[in-house]
Symmetry: C2
């Protein structure tokens, strides 16, 4: 049997007249792994352990009615206050910022007694996951632990159940030795020590190397650090093909066509997160309009940006900055019949796929990004030989860099140049790159990534 | 002959009735190296090349009246606009922030066309220094290039004068591979390539390792990277002894005694710089007062903070935050006869030495610091067996950590605990640590550091 452990499960539950209905969950891990596991690709049977996230999830759990097709699902009814402390203050406000290197270090973080309380909650939540897995797993089972919300589970589970084969996979980047030291030493050692007790996987060799150097720094040169592994995720071809055929996708394409007309389309698709570098993307676009007047009224920047983590001050503030930047740019450059930027905050895959189909340029310029699946989904769904402008700081660069135009996350001038280069690229060159991108972006599907984890587990 | 090249020279010039008078310059390098070179410790003769910084410096240079005792001084009358672009925008707003890791990366830096103009200025200024050295140096001379304002001089000078023995020394930390990539690749390669063309020295092995990893990252695994070296600076014993005997120092001690009475004294001495972590130091002090009411009105925090780089927005903003934090803390905790924090913005060594003499606790908690000479000067001048609370992120930690209490730069709670531990330490333990600190802090004088550079030059 294979056991998956992740913060968010493949289904959420909705109360109905006769019990609870399982609905497809959000989030990259769930949507990638869910269909695979229910199809039996991970072996005879699979168990998925995740947190009960909504009141209905909790109610379904308490009623013993957590049932989903083809998979055994175990939702944990965790202490709500502890869960929120761990999720908001440790996972998303601390570890996310350290792994992506986006703390304004002169001012944040500030580890105080409230942080210590949150850290204790993170330990408890991780322990609850480890306990559930230790209870569920049969002797010798494989357990795949997902992501930064569960960094302590590997060591906890290893010590409770030495018979299991375990792997941990980080969907984020990992930081190097100078940055892991930002954490209090006991916490940095606990995280590195836990991850080092099992094979730890990453989307890019760079993150694996940073992790190994950090583990060495915190644990000492004689410590036993299990070899890490690299296994990048790729989009599910069937899901892409199905989505492309949906009526909502066709409607979305027609809507966009009406808004954009025969102008060129630059597209970005991101959660609103400081790591995504949305502000500098707009600055580069502004610079393009300044230095290349021929593009005024000839190009539209479609910004599909969905708000996230809106309980955290950093995210509320960043979202405000993003919305202000859009307003300012539209006010300064827009005309009666041209909005330079169209902001679309919807978070649904069919209309995203519609935008993917017709972009001329896809801008993916993160400060750091574990992989960036958009950089693979876009080229696979695009039908105009669109050009990918990709930051080397995205894990996907390892696979796609050769066919992309590089955009340096901090270099406004260089990104503006790349956008112009992309917009003016000869059709032949576009076609050549796009064909190669399709091959590279489609080379790995979720099953490959899953198999790599299964093979790595020890 | 030995040639020193640094941005700031050992003397500044002041117009007087009959010509120009050389006055001791500010800055760590000048005050450490100046007396040595004029004493002949660097060999028969020494030449120092530096920038003319003031209108009087420039006037003295143009009048051919740059003369100083015991040393040949060459002040460069550089293009003023270029000099300021290079110094403010590249050295202090970019390289300083990258080497110390204190950019708020979601927002800064932003490399645009103005940055490129500043970079061209930095190249030109570096070239002017390299040209001057190439012209001055006799065949086979040793040339010691100082600090981050002159990162490109090594390669320029090496290529102009392959006969010279050259070393470069960084007084800052150096960043690792994940951070050097923040720079545009051509610039990161230019810097690493230049530094790698000569032995590059640092105050701490950690910075040397980070530099080597960064150079490897930017130049490739086959690149020829000259071995780096570690050579920490130490205070000049004679200068300390002389200063301790000055009447101004005695007056300073009496003044402090009057203000503080029999309360305990926590001291910090810093330029106001985000890397110094001044805000979190006050937060920790506040936490001490919250959790240890017995210290209220029993302790005074003497903050000797001198403003610096007040043409740069980051520094103006940070200074405001620092001053606000002090006001708030004094408003909240102060009483009629007790100011919890005394801010002293004077930047003169005799009254600083007075504060060193009588502290109970010296707080040195930088985010990152190349060395931090205060951590050595303090223990050597202190007469109360004061306790050093030192951040492991200061280069001086390598030498002093064993006798200091560690303060983690981001951990408010832990720093508050350390302050309390320092304030309550048994006299015997204090005496033991202080004695050992005096030995360690005094182990190396400027001459040792200079000799290490001379020996390393290649």
């Amino acid at each position: 049997m294979t056991v998956i452990i992740s913060n968010r499960g493949p289904y959420q539950f909705k109360k109905s007249n006769n019990g609870f209905i399982a609905q497809g969950g959000a989030g990259g891990i769930a949507s990638s792994l869910g269909p695979l596991l229910t199809s039996g690709a991970a072996g005879d049977s699979a168990t998925w352990i995740a947190a009960a996230l909504t009141p209905d999830d909790r109610a379904a759990t308490r009623a013993g009615q957590v049932k989903a097709p083809g998979i055994e699902l175990d939702l944990l009814d965790l202490d709500e206050r502890e869960y929120l402390l761990a999720y908001n203050l440790i996972s998303n406000s601390t570890l996310w910022f350290i792994y992506h290197g986006i703390f304004d270090l002169a001012r944040r973080p500030r580890f105080d007694h409230r942080f210590r309380e949150a850290w204790a909650a993170y330990e408890n939540i991780n322990q609850a996951f480890a306990n559930a897995a230790a209870e569920k797993a049969n002797p010798g089972d494989v357990v795949l632990i997902q992501d930064y919300q569960l960094n302590l589970v590997p060591a906890m589970l290893r010590s409770a159940r030495p018979d299991l084969r375990i792997a941990h996979f980080s969907h984020t980047p990992f930081c190097g030795p100078n940055s892991i030291r930002i954490l209090p030493p006991d916490i940095a050692r606990a995280i590195c020590g836990s991850m080092a007790s099992v094979p730890s996987g990453f989307h890019s060799a760079r993150w694996a190397q940073s992790y190994e150097a950090s583990a060495r720094e915190m644990l000492g040169s004689n410590a036993n650090i299990t070899d890490s592994f690299v296994a990048s995720l790729g989009p599910d071809h069937d899901l892409l093909a199905t989505t492309a055929q949906l009526p909502e996708t066709a409607v979305g394409r027609a809507d966009l066509k009406e808004q954009i007309g025969d102008r060129a389309m630059i597209l970005r698709v991101d959660r609103i997160d400081p790591s995504k570098n949305i502000l500098r993307g707009f600055s580069a676009y502004q610079r393009l309009l300044e230095t290349h007047p021929e593009w005024r009224n000839r190009v539209v920047f479609v910004a599909r940006l969905n708000a996230s983590r809106q309980t955290l001050p950093e995210y509320i503030g960043y979202r405000n900055e993003v919305e202000q930047a859009i307003s300012q740019l539209n006010d300064e450059w827009g005309t009666n019949d041209w909005s330079p930027i169209i902001l679309d905050e919807r978070d649904d895959f069919p209309t995203t796929a519609a935008a993917f189909a017709d972009y001329d340029v896809l801008l993916v310029n993160p400060i750091k990004d574990g992989l960036n699946l958009v950089a693979k989904e876009g080229p696979l769904l695009n039908q105009r030989d669109g050009v990918l402008c990709l930051s080397p700081e995205a894990g996907a660069w390892d696979e796609l860099g050769v066919d992309a135009l590089s955009v340096h996350p901090y270099d406004i001038e260089q990104v503006a140049d790349s956008l112009n280069q992309a917009l003016t690229m000869e059709p032949k060159e576009r076609a050549k790159r796009a064909a190669s991108l399709r091959t590279r972006a489609g080379a790995r599907q979720p099953i490959d990534w899953l198999k790599d984890q299964l093979a790595a587990a020890k």
